[in-house]
């Protein structure tokens, strides 16, 4: 199904205050910077952001932290963003730290219709607190529950007007997995090409999962 691309501002308008937002990006590599800029510009508030890390101030979702758009961050790492650390210590921002592989699997479970995952990661640590330990084939595992979100914001390399997406190198990271786990999926790409240009084998995220495509930069 072909669809017209929307502006980044129109995309940001579809992300209401208080929404839970999964984002692609690892140290902001593979983060949808234009959608993030538009969220800052519209003065979004109370967002719960879910993704790998909070990058650096002024970079990727670090811009959402700087601008006070975020109420809660569910991430694996905040060590490179002193603003996140300061706001967390001051009680202005809630941070839930999740081991990186567990975060990816919980999102995958959310998007795959699974009731959770059993992982050895976090056994015997504070990550285990309040969680069930289940023994399978004689080995203990932590039960980690699925995560879904209101919106996923994705950065792709190429898109076509069906919404089919490709990714480049380490800019892929969390983008493919979050495309399955949110009720509304918005993608921005470096290039939008005519339908048929992307070979089927190169598509990593089928367009059927993508609700909105953001115009390419002019």
């Amino acid at each position: 199904m072909q669809r017209r691309a929307i502006t980044a501002a129109q995309a940001a308008a579809r992300i209401p205050d208080g929404a839970s937002v999964m984002f692609g990006g690892f140290m902001a590599v593979g983060s949808p910077e234009r959608i993030i800029d538009a969220l800052v510009a519209r003065g979004a508030r109370g967002l719960t952001i879910i993704g790998n890390d909070t990058a650096r101030p002024g970079l990727g979702v670090g811009k959402l932290i700087d601008a006070g758009c975020v109420a809660k961050a569910m991430v694996s790492h905040i060590g490179t963003n002193p603003v996140t650390q300061r706001k967390m210590m001051a009680g202005e921002l809630e941070v839930e730290l999740v081991p990186q592989g567990t975060l990816a699997e919980r999102i995958r479970a959310g998007g795959a219709g699974l009731g959770g995952v059993l992982t050895p990661t976090g056994l015997g640590t504070v990550v285990q607190d309040g969680k069930r330990v289940i023994e399978v084939q004689g080995r203990p595992f932590l039960l980690e529950e699925p995560i879904t979100a209101d919106v996923a914001i994705i950065h792709a390399h190429e898109a076509d007007y069906n919404g089919n997406l490709t990714y480049r190198l380490t800019a892929m990271n969390f983008n493919p997995v979050i495309a399955l786990a949110a009720r509304c999926v918005i993608a921005e790409a470096n290039e939008i090409v005519p339908v048929g240009v992307i070979p089927p084998d190169h598509v990593r995220t089928p367009g059927i999962l993508v609700h909105h495509l953001v115009e390419r930069p002019r």
């Binding site: 990186q100 592989g101 567990t102 990661t121 976090g122 015997g124 380490t170 892929m172 997995v177």
Partner: protein
């Protein structure tokens, strides 16, 4: 030779031919400089690549090709990229031969703490909990002392990264191996006496009659 180079050159001797290895950010990254001649080692970066190489010359960086610290890298011929869920399937699924991680503390049981200092520093665990839970061999590369205090302690006072003991601890003073009976002093650094290692260690050590000097990769 400074302490970090010494540690990296000793850790490099743990590399095996035709294996997949993940190096943590910081000191562990240095190990890649000392791969013994004749060995083929594939390095994984958990943000989604196997087969990366040294940073490219200035001006030839690719914004979509970075390591887990966000620094620019190159891709060697035969490199492959993948998403975060797959990256941690490699890590947790027993496909990673070895990981080298930095440490804040290791205790007499061989448990590692390396992701937070409560109330002071909360970087988050990133991929460390998955790496310790899943890699076949876990090597800790760290300085023996921090501000005069031993980082080898009888019982962790910082939050653990995993309950599972690590495989080997390499410091600027010694090589220690966690065993069911306790921490075994395997090797001492060039010019360092057994007495000096014991004096710099806040955990009980098992000390064999002969403790050889450590070899170093060229």
């Amino acid at each position: 030779m400074d302490a970090k180079e010494l540690i990296a050159r000793r850790v490099a001797l743990e590399l095996r031919d035709n294996t997949l290895v993940n190096l943590g950010i910081g000191l562990p990254t240095l190990v890649a400089r000392y791969v013994p001649a004749g060995l083929t080692v594939a390095f994984q970066s958990e943000n989604g690549i196997i087969g990366f190489g040294a940073p490219p010359p200035e001006g030839m960086e690719d914004p979509n090709l970075t390591d887990a610290g966000g620094g620019f890298i190159s891709a060697l011929p035969g490199a492959v990229s993948f998403d975060s869920a797959f990256s941690f399937m490699l890590i947790r699924g027993g496909h990673l031969d070895m990981t080298v991680l930095g440490g804040l503390q290791v205790d007499a049981q061989g448990r590692l703490a390396n992701w937070m200092v409560p109330g002071k520093l909360v970087p988050g665990m990133g991929g460390a909990m998955d790496l310790v839970a899943g890699a076949r061999r876990v090597i800790v590369a760290m300085q023996h002392l921090a501000r005069g205090e031993s980082k080898i302690v009888q019982e962790l006072t910082l939050p653990a990264t995993a309950a599972r003991p690590v495989t080997l601890v390499v410091t600027d003073l010694a090589v220690l191996e966690p065993t069911p009976g306790g921490l075994l002093l395997r090797e001492r650094a060039p010019g360092v006496t057994v007495a000096a290692v014991i004096a710099a260690t806040a955990a009980e050590l098992i000390v064999p009659n002969a403790v050889p000097e450590m070899s170093l990769a060229a």
